[in-house]
Symmetry: C2
Subunit: 139 residues, 2 copies
DNA sequence: GTATCAATGGGACACAGTATCATTCCCCAC
DNA sequence: GTGGGGAATGATACTGTGTCCCATTGATAC
């Protein structure tokens, strides 16, 4: 089963309607080979309203099908979530690639920090910026 | 010596000019008792151009006098940095308060995650969202 | 097949931030 | 203290990102 099929199933299972625009967005996302902006996505889907693309991406974020990637400069890109679960990002400032990773020790350290400050944690984000292995091999 | 004086010294020491608009922004920031948006700051400084407020905040971020606080909903606020050094944020989703904290174990966990992925780290961000001790005591 | 109501499209709008450029004014040299 | 050079400013236009509104469409349950 393709990732697009998995995602349409996920939409249907959660009570959302399977409309043509949503299918088109899912297909475009599956075809993207790097993190994208909404404008880029919208340009690839000229027959779909811009507002619908925004709405769909927001929905897919809630379903953990897509994740929001905050960049170092304050910009934002989106990417299909590979794991579909909580994770963090390694963001290459040279080629812009984004790698998901999960690290229980990192999550534990975050929980300990919250506890130490008597803070009731209900979410967190962590982004790591630098150079990916591929770019390190270049001059 | 006041925090405003410390900051003007920091500006002067780094070769930036001590202009009236910059002093005004520094004073407004010193007087803010909670994280602010640029619009709020700009409204409090009607005689200072909006572009200048943006430019000054950007400069103060570089000097670690002000820090950018990304919110859970994608919004952004700014706050005077208490420590003037690298730190993370505890952001209360109820009252909007922001608490700085430093935690070497958290930074180490982040470095280990990067190393494990053969990633050359040069920066990171970590934001913790939840309820501050004060809001926990309310119903 | 049909009714219902979620979803859509498209434009206006809101907010965050940058670019441009003529004018101002800080700071250093003298 | 004065004058010149260049950094900083202010006004405005512009870009990017995202939301709101509302008349129309269409997926799903019956």
């Amino acid at each position: 089963m393709s990732t697009t099929e998995q995602s349409t199933d996920r939409l249907g299972d959660t009570g959302y309607r399977l409309t043509a625009p949503r299918r088109a967005v899912l297909e475009a996302i599956a075809g993207a080979n790097r993190p994208f902006t909404i404008e880029e996505l919208s340009d690839r889907l000229p027959n779909i309203g811009r507002a619908t693309v925004f709405r769909t991406i927001k929905l897919l974020q809630e379903l953990d099908i897509v994740c929001r990637v905050p960049l170092e400069d304050g910009g934002v890109r989106y990417e299909r979530s590979r794991s579909g679960r909580h994770h963090h990002h390694l963001i290459c400032s040279e080629c812009g690639s984004v790698t998901e990773f999960s690290d229980p020790t990192l999550d534990e350290a975050i929980e300990r920090s919250a506890t130490a400050a008597s803070f009731e944690l209900d979410g967190h984000s962590a982004e790591l910026y630098g150079r990916c292995p591929t770019c390190q091999r270049l001059p």
